[in-house]
Symmetry: C2
Subunit: 178 residues, 2 copies
């Protein structure tokens, strides 16, 4: 919860502004309304010779669990650029980006997770600062019980199912609260 | 640009935090890093008997220009809920949501625009506070020169092209700077 105005340092009040229908953090001194909105987490599903690149997380949340390379989209970039950048940062891996593959809302944490299909361009990957270890895994080798996030597990399941039927779709949905 | 810490009201400094690679607004008093990230704008393409529902904007930017019903995604909701809510708020219109249809990054304004296909459920729509006028328009009636945003124009073009060929896809891309 925001306590002070980032424009003038006045303590904020929580109130529904005129013409709005939700409470916002409002500054009665300078008039700025401080909206808070969901964030996009964007990543890739890098494939090499039938195997997928997964990263073992070196940071919380879910330290030590496995994930696809992904992270918060930054200002001044596109969703595709975010997917490639995160893959480079977390796995030191260069990819050729394919189509968007999954888009999953996680309203309980105010996030939307978006994953792109991708082709790994070479094997010169290297764990970044937020990664303990990288592995190229066949479907039979995926550590399903040690996947960091439900959006990653669901994306992997859709991916293997689509690949098995020989046609990749776009999978949109919501992750329900536990 | 953020000037003061929303947690403790101290003036912020702009600096690359340890382990990061981009300058952030950092508080040297309480240690909070204030990240800023792109926002999702979510909307719908409501169809009724071959015609699409468009809204004439009653607010800036692009006052008086035509748009699909859309707006900033809120915390605590999914992308689909955002599309339905915005359609209800701006056009008083009830829809049955279909598949995601377009996702367009607009990095120059730090936004990603997402539109869903939708079926208008009845004709009891009514302009909301941010709308001057609502119209149900056939393809030949779309005011192409008076469309509010490039993401809306591109989405409409993809929509009519897909409908003409009898198959709707998912269209992802970026809007280049002018």
């Amino acid at each position: 919860m925001l306590k002070f105005c980032s424009n003038c340092a006045t303590p904020l009040v929580r109130r529904v502004p005129p013409g709005d229908n939700l409470p916002r953090s409002v500054c009665d001194q300078c008039g700025v309304i401080h909206y808070q909105n969901p964030k996009l987490v964007v990543g890739a599903i890098p494939e090499w010779d039938g195997r997928l690149l997964l990263c073992k997380r070196a940071i919380e949340p879910r330290y030590g669990y496995w994930t696809l390379p992904a992270g918060f989209m930054e200002n001044d970039e596109s969703t595709g650029q975010a997917a490639s950048r995160e893959t480079l940062e977390e796995a030191g891996a260069r990819i050729e980006l394919g189509d968007p593959f999954s888009m999953l809302s996680v309203p309980q944490v105010n996030q939307v997770h978006l994953f792109y299909r991708a082709r790994l361009l070479d094997l010169d990957f290297k764990a970044g600062e937020e990664t303990l270890e990288i592995a190229l895994l066949a479907e039979s080798e995926v550590p399903w019980k040690d996947i960091a996030f439900r959006t990653v597990g669901l994306t992997l399941k859709h991916y293997f199912a689509d690949r098995a039927r020989g046609a990749f779709g776009f999978h949109a949905g919501d992750i329900p609260p536990r």
